[in-house]
């Protein structure tokens, strides 16, 4: 065994005690003397990282996990300290959280709400996790958020873009750093107008499930406000792999813009198919035919390859940003793993730091205290510019990036270029905006 404790493995080893569980987790019960769910009594605190490790989003999950491990390393004083150097709040000191060493357990969501809840429950019940974070789809995020609410732990959402997560399904114990479909629409609209004009006819292909619908609704509303006409909206089955029969009629419809409200494998295939059909070389109504993918991720861009070139979309964060926070994060992540982080990695890293900082400021791990510390918290230095964690719906408000597929990528990670950084003010909405109405945060649940 190595004697140096500074090697990467040495760190992993010390952080690995997590798997053994902590003393006496007090589960789902009022019978215990603990003040709140899974109150850490020992010298360590356990976080639960619930990411897709199998299924189509496994690579995204792997990137999230890398970010979490990096965050834990930094919180425990390892590495270069990462974003703790640039974070506007200086409470974190590299000595764990509230002096307790940070440990973690991991689980596999399989991108299924059932499996995700099962693995979250096992982390809470078996390993005594005090906070659950991660995920790569809105269905999973909403389901796990609901579980954490009833179990009495904090949920720091990973990648979830549906309006519902902080809209009709918002929960007092749940917090989202990632942006949402409404923000995508609001950020994209002005760019679409300046690049493609106000007289456009849009054709929507939408994945036939909740996230797809909220995205379609948001984009339709934002583009129609510009004066665009929505020619047609077509729902496509989630299980579809070949989108040819949905794309073929587009050319015939008189539309000159195709909006693909798809994510993951659906998006890769529909975009590939659309480009195959030569849509981008066509001229309709005297204008170049354009394709828009409102929600972009680097992994999807990699999957679609050449086809993303010149295609507009929005994203939460991109590693080419030049602010101090982004540069620091790219450096820490890049030096550890050898390639730049994805937006999923950034949001998960930020969520972990935000949680740790909130505990530190609240002086407790009690979910109610942590929630209070996060609510209306304003911060900067995590890569997204000045950000507000709004109390009314637990949604972060920050700048949104409009990006475009790069024409001449220099590496397999250099696929997108930032077209515009839409300021937070422009994507902010009222908490009772109709697209987000119908939910109720309820009150925070400490579990005991």
């Amino acid at each position: 065994m190595s004697k140096s404790n500074l090697t990467r493995r040495g760190l992993l080893k010390t952080s690995a005690v997590a798997g053994a569980g902590v003393a006496l987790p007090t589960i789902f019960t009022a019978s215990s003397a603990a003040a709140y769910m899974n109150e850490p009594t020992g010298s360590s605190v356990t976080l639960g990282f619930n990411v897709p490790q199998s299924g189509p989003y496994a690579d995204e999950g792997a990137d999230e996990l890398r970010a979490y491990e990096l965050a834990v390393e930094h919180l425990n004083g390892g590495g270069d300290g990462g974003l703790m150097n640039t974070f506007s709040s200086k409470e974190l000191d590299g000595n764990g959280i509230l002096g307790k060493k940070v440990e973690f357990v991991t689980g596999d969501t399989q991108t299924k709400s059932d499996a995700a809840r099962a693995s979250a429950r096992s982390m809470i019940e078996k390993d005594g996790a005090i906070m659950i974070t991660g995920g790569s789809s809105s269905g999973v995020a909403v389901a796990v958020q609901d579980l954490c609410q009833s179990a009495g732990v904090i949920f720091m959402a990973g990648l979830t873009h549906s309006n519902d997560t902080t809209g009709k399904d918002k929960k007092a114990n749940g917090f989202r750093h990632f942006f949402n479909a409404y923000m995508s629409g609001a950020a994209l609209a002005p760019v679409l107008q300046s690049l493609y004009g106000s007289d456009r006819k849009a054709y929507h292909l939408t994945a036939d499930y909740t996230w797809g619908w909220t995205q379609e609704e948001s984009i339709v509303a934002a583009t129609e406000a510009l004066g665009w006409e929505t020619v047609n909206t077509v729902l496509t089955p989630l299980a579809a792999t070949d989108f040819s029969s949905y794309i073929a009629p587009v050319m015939n419809s008189g539309a000159d813009v195709l909006v693909l409200n798809h994510y993951g494998g659906n998006m890769v295939n529909s975009l590939t198919n659309a480009v195959q059909f030569g849509l981008r070389e066509k001229e309709v109504n005297g204008k170049n035919f354009e394709i828009v993918v409102p929600l972009y991720s680097r992994l999807m861009a990699r999957g679609a390859g050449e086809n993303v070139k010149g295609i507009l979309g929005s994203t939460n964060w991109h590693w080419s940003l030049q602010d101090e926070g982004s540069k620091q994060f790219v450096k820490s992540f890049g030096e550890k793993y050898g390639f730049p982080p994805s937006q999923a990695a950034q949001t998960c890293y930020a969520q972990t730091l935000l949680y740790a900082d909130a505990c530190q400021r609240a002086g407790t791990f009690n979910p109610c205290g942590v929630a209070e510390a996060l609510e209306d918290f304003e911060f900067d230095g995590l890569g997204n510019g000045p950000t507000l964690y709004r109390a009314a719906d637990h949604q972060c408000f920050k700048d949104v990036l409009v990006v475009r597929g790069k024409e001449n990528p220099t590496s397999e990670f250099d696929l997108l270029e930032v077209v515009e950084v839409t300021p937070a003010a422009q994507v902010t909405y009222e908490p009772d905006h109709p697209m987000f109405a119908g939910g109720n945060l309820g009150s925070c649940n400490p579990g005991s």
């Binding site: 792999t241 073929a248 050319m251 195959q276 250099d414």
Partner: protein, 343 residues
């Protein structure tokens, strides 16, 4: 009218993939009596043959370009492929670009070898076992194969483009006298359809006109009798399994540019191809082909807005609905022989 032509084209194209997979599946069932749940995985491996060849052709060495920097501020490392250095950028570039068609040649020996190993090493021991056991063992194999691919290639889809000469699309509408852009169709999908037709034709010709094929057909009809004639039917069936694997693999190779291959694409097609086989009639080759095209076209029609506005969600269920109706009205499938698995 143009919309209908378009959906027929789409249907033929989807149908080509269904038909190719179902053809191998029904061949294995017809000759060996084995329900092979790993057949989708063979299709997936075929697609990854294309990915692998393209990776091999893209093997490269690094040149450091001091004038540019990468994301960490270090000098940018430039990659140049060996092929381009050896054969010149033009020749080398063309070869790299034609990776997918070249992968046809590359994949045939690989797929046949995989087929042989599967049959000799595993399936052979399951001829006399119940279908449920066959399903379980081949399902296990399918999981193992796809997890191996995932381990080496990741879960993300890997773009595998067609040669640029074959990208773009053909304006059918103008050929047929409709307005421009009314019926456009990508060249590669046309290539896929023609390719599928050739493979299907080849398999049929092989079974129809060669002595080997005759023995196999006789074996499908009555295995014991052929065995009694002193013909080594087992060896021929092994070869048949290899051919079925190759057909699935080729279907996968050529499918790679249509949708970026990922490790679970086989599972996506598995259930569907079983439905196709059953609708066509277990063990009937023409049935599998017919059902493949039929379901492909029906699926395309069901995805038309005009149809969906009458039956919301019909495109989600049309294949299953058709399967149920056919099985209830014509239990042996469209072209199944009487008495085969009809009980």
């Amino acid at each position: 009218m143009d919309a209908i032509i378009l959906q027929i084209l789409n249907g033929l194209d989807k149908g080509s993939a269904y038909a190719l997979i179902a053809l191998g599946l029904t061949l294995i069932f017809g000759t060996l009596g084995v329900v092979n749940f790993a057949h989708g995985a063979l299709f997936m491996i075929g697609a990854f043959c294309a990915v692998t060849l393209s990776r091999i052709l893209n093997l490269s060495f690094e040149i450091v370009d001091e004038s540019r920097t990468d994301f960490l501020g270090n000098p940018l490392k430039f990659k140049t492929t060996y092929i381009e250095t050896w054969l010149g950028p033009e020749m080398g570039g063309t070869i790299i670009e034609w990776a997918v068609p070249l992968a046809i040649l590359f994949s045939i020996p690989i797929m046949i070898a995989i087929g042989f190993i599967m049959e000799r090493g595993l399936i052979k021991h399951f001829y006399k076992r119940p279908h449920a056991d066959q399903i379980l063992v081949t399902f296990g194999l399918a999981i193992v194969l796809q997890e191996i691919i995932k381990y080496f290639y990741g879960a993300n889809p890997i773009p595998t483009p067609a040669p640029s000469a074959l990208t773009g699309s053909l304006d059918f509408g103008e050929l047929l006298g409709f307005q421009a852009n009314a019926v456009i169709y990508p060249y590669w999908r046309l290539v896929y359809f023609v390719f599928a037709a050739l493979i299907i034709g080849g398999v049929f010709a092989f079974l129809q006109f060669t002595t080997f094929g005759m023995v196999v057909r006789a074996g499908m009809a009555d295995r014991e009798t052929v065995g009694l004639l002193g013909i080594n039917i087992d060896r021929r069936f092994t070869i048949m399994f290899g051919i079925a694997a190759a057909v699935a693999g080729l279907a996968g190779v050529m499918y790679a540019p249509i949708n970026s291959p990922n490790y679970h694409m086989g599972m996506d097609f598995l259930v569907l191809s079983f439905v196709v086989v059953v609708v066509g009639g277990m063990g009937s080759l023409p049935g599998a082909v017919l059902a493949g095209f039929l379901l492909g076209i029906l699926e395309s029609f069901a995805s038309m807005n005009e149809v969906k506005s009458i039956f919301p969600g019909i495109d989600q269920i049309v294949i299953y609905l058709v399967a149920i109706i056919i099985l209830l009205t014509r239990p042996r499938g469209l072209m199944g022989r009487k008495g085969v698995m009809e009980d």
